[in-house]
Structures are given as C-alpha cells and as structure tokens.
Amino acid sequence: MNDLKAFLDGELDAAAATTMQTRLQSDAQLARVAESFRRMSASFGALSDGPASTGREKVLIAIATPKPWEFPWRTAGAIASAFLLTMIVVEIFPIFAQSRVASPETAMVEGMKARSKDSSVAAGAEAESPAASLPNQEDFPERPAEPLAGTEAYAPPLTTLPSPSKSGATVTDLFERKVVKTASLDVRVKSIDQAEAKVTSYVDGVRGYVENSTSSNLDGKSPSMTLTVRVPQQKFSEAMATFEKLGERTAKDIQSSDVTQAIVDMDARLKNLRSQEETYRAILRSARKIGEIIDVQERLSVIRGEIESMQAQRDSMSKLAALSTITVTLSQRPPPEEAVSGGWVEDTWSSATHALGGALKSLSVMGIWILVYAPLWVPLSIVALWGWRRALRA
C-alpha cells in the first residue's frame, strides 16, 4: 500500500511494480485510491499559467556587486559564547566539586549527631559546658570561610577525635570542639582614626571586646596602632574578612589549637578529685582521733586546691576557645609627596603615559587569561562555528 504512489510515479523496480499491478487488479479499494492519486497528480501537472519571471537583471547586478565587509558577528558571538561558557564551567565546577567532597563528612556528622541523641550520658556534660550557651555554629567543626593553604587551620577531621571509651568523653563531647584561634593581621589604611573606629564598632557589634590597644607615632607621618580584640569564635572568619577590608593587607597569620582533648582530660581528673574529696569528707566525719582529723584535713586542703586550680585552668581554656583573639596592626599610608608641577604639558604627558601603562597592563592581563584558557575555549569555538555552518547549510 505504501508503494502505491511510487508505483504510479514509476519509481518502483520491476518486481515491486508487478506485485503492485497484481494487487490493483484484485483490490477494488486500492484501485479507487490509485485513481484518486492519478487525478490529483494530473491536476497538479495541469497548472501552467504562472506569473512570468522578473528581476533577472537585479540578480545579475546583485551578484556582480562585491559584498561589503561585515564584522563577523556570528564568529565573534560563537567565540564569546564559548569563552563565557568556559568561564561559567570553571567557576561553577569547583562549587560542585566542593559539595561532593563535603557530602560524606556532612553525612558522617549527621549520623553521629543522631546517635548522640540516644546517648543517656550526654545531657550532663552538655549542661556543664560553658559552650552550651553559645550559638550552634560552635558545636561543629567549621571550615574557615577563606582557607589559606598551610596557614589557617580549622578543627581537625572527626577521625582524629579522641576515643570516647579511652578518654571518658561522651558522644556529645565529640561535637563540642574547643579550638583556640589566634590571628594577627597587618593592614595599611588611609586613616588610623577611622580604621580604629570601625574595628571597635565591629567588635562591639558582635559582642566581643578590645583587649588591648597600643599606638605609636600618632603625630608623625606614619602612625600605627595595634589592637588586640576578642571576638566570638563563630565570628572569627567574618571578623578577619571585615578587618582585611579596612585597607591594604600586608601580612596575615592564623593559628589554631584544638584543646578538646585537654579539656576532656581535665574533666576526668576533676571528677576523680571530687570523688577523692568526698571520700576524705566521709572519713573526716567518722574520724575520732585528733591526729587522724588533722591528717585528713591536710589532704582535703591539698585536693581542694588542686580542684580549684584545675577548674580555673579549664574555665580559662574554655573562654579562650569561645573567644578568638585577633591582633590587628593598623599602619597609615604616608601622604603622597607634593607633586612638583612642571606645567600642563608635563602633567598631561605624565598622566597620559600613566594611563597608557595601565591600559597595556590590563590588556596583558586579559591576554594572559585568554591564552591560559585557550585549550578550553578554542575547541568550543571551533565546534560552535562548525555546528553553526552546518545548520546554515542544512
């Protein structure tokens, strides 16, 4: 049936044509369809009175006239698109890569958090911890916002945490990481006074405080000031970023120390000392001889001293971890030297050459970027152009 039209047009081979001929003789319905096809073909073929052709001369003129040069917008567009696509991929890919790397760790933390809810021993330790009153961010090891390779440390991976069974720490303790962070930052600013005001204002805003402030040469050409500030640990990265924006950063140093193990050990020792204290108190209550009483009281006194000393150390360490220390050294840029005017010609020449230098530098930077990314955008451009030309031909 599908060959009927081809048969009527004489486009079938001999064998297929013979078969179709036989079918047409035996199938009246097919014969009627064939007849209608013939009538339609004949009707199309009878169309003859079309308009006479015009415009031949215009065509000859048009093809004889050389085509004016046109900017290759399509080529430029394809190259620009490929370059843009490359940049987008390069910019976005690290985000995906980072999220993939982060996923297993996040899952592990979530899993351990879920298990910690079932732990019956967790509540007491949490209540005792001063960090319990701090926001949630502190409960988990937090990656710094702007990690600097080899300089800015953060809480070590969970795999390095002390074993709860050995240290006596509960599962909840695993997530109350105590990391003491200290940093120093040197910034060259336009105005010492304004920068100091901004630092103080920021520190007050995040409920931190200025621990120390020293200044020198305030009346001179290059005054400087050093501020030691304490900010909540979870605001550490934000504070560093804020202070860096005060001016031109000239030096930066970040150090961190995980004191979780030390605090857990202190808690265990405190618990042990308190238990000993209770035992001695019981002995004291039942003692009858003066010598025994004096001896026990001396021991109690020693234990009480150890408890208080250790408790003070523990509290100090917790406070250090809760508030990070940042030492900001602000130095003021020296005022620009008074330019000795050599007339408008020299001034213009100077500014023009300066601008030219800047423009050349910018062009060089752009050229280097384009060159470095050439292995990515050149093949893409070729593929895009090839596809475009293929589409045009089709």
Binding site: A42, F44, L47, G50, P51, S53
Partner: protein
C-alpha cells in the same frame, strides 16, 4: 546521490543565472506566491554566488539551486506567515474538466506541513524524480517515497468531494 556531476570549469554564476533563473523564479513563485518570488529568487542567487566555490557537483546545479530556494522560501514564509503555496497559479482553460480546481489544491496544500507541501509541489509540478527530491531536501529516497505517499493520502482525505466525483 553520491555520484559527482561534471560541471564545466568555465561555468560562472552568471551562466547559472542565465540557465536557471526562470526555473528558480517559477519554483519560488509556487512556494511563496508571485509577491515574494522575485525577492526569493534574488536571495537564492546571491546565496548561490557565495557558495558557488564550494559547489562540488554532488547534485545537478538545478537541484542544488532548488535546495537553496527551499531554504530561502522557508525563511521568507517565517517572516510572511500569510504566504500561500501555488498562489496565482491555475490550470489552463483547455485543461480536462474533471481535474481538481487549483483553488482546492491550494487550500489542501496549506493544511500540510510546509516542507511536505514543497515536496509535493516539486515532485508534481516540476517533475523531479524521487532521487532529485532527495537531493533537494537532503533526505533518503525511501523517506521521499513515504512522505509523498502519506501526503497524497492526506490530500485525498482533504479533497474527498473532488476526488470522488
């Protein structure tokens, strides 16, 4: 389809215009009507003059030009939606009386996919073979066969009163 046709080395685009302008104009007139035929024919030869150096003779110059005309007319129709195929065309006065009227054919063609309608026009009014149609539309001959058959089946339905007279 893969055979290469010998194109005379001295043949120029001007020769092409002389030889095929009427054919191209006629086809354009059938595709988009007389109103746009001149513009389309001009565009066809301008495009052909740009691509002439790349023409390797894989099809005849005529089918090559018809292929360009098909694309040019398709673009023209996109910009001018009101164009009707076979507009201005009619049967001669001495044609057989039982033929289907040009108006009915025109209206039925507008119901088809525009590319299918162009295929029908080239085959039925220009007398192209299936192989030439395949070259113009860059499709296999088998596809030409099935498309034409299906198009005629649909036309038969659309033209039922006329075909059953």
């Amino acid at each position: 389809m893969s055979s290469v046709i010998d194109i005379p080395a001295a043949m120029t685009i001007e020769n092409l215009v002389d030889s095929y302008y009427d054919d191209v104009f006629r086809v354009c007139s059938k595709f988009v009507g007389p109103g746009g035929a001149e513009d389309c024919a001009q565009d066809v030869f301008v495009a052909a003059s740009r691509a002439w150096k790349r023409f390797r003779g894989e099809s005849s110059p005529k089918t090559w030009l018809f292929g360009i005309a098909k694309n040019v007319c398709r673009n023209y129709r996109r910009k001018n939606r009101e164009t009707v195929p076979l507009d201005g065309w009619s049967q001669s006065a001495d044609a057989a009386p039982d033929l289907i009227q040009a108006d009915a054919l025109r209206m039925a063609l507008t119901k088809l996919d525009p590319d299918i309608a162009r295929l029908v026009i080239l085959k039925e009014t220009e007398g192209l073979t299936y192989e030439e149609c395949a070259e113009v539309f860059r499709i296999p001959v088998g596809t030409v066969k099935s498309r034409l058959h299906n198009a005629f089946m649909k036309l038969r339905t659309l033209l039922e009163p006329e075909t059953s007279r």
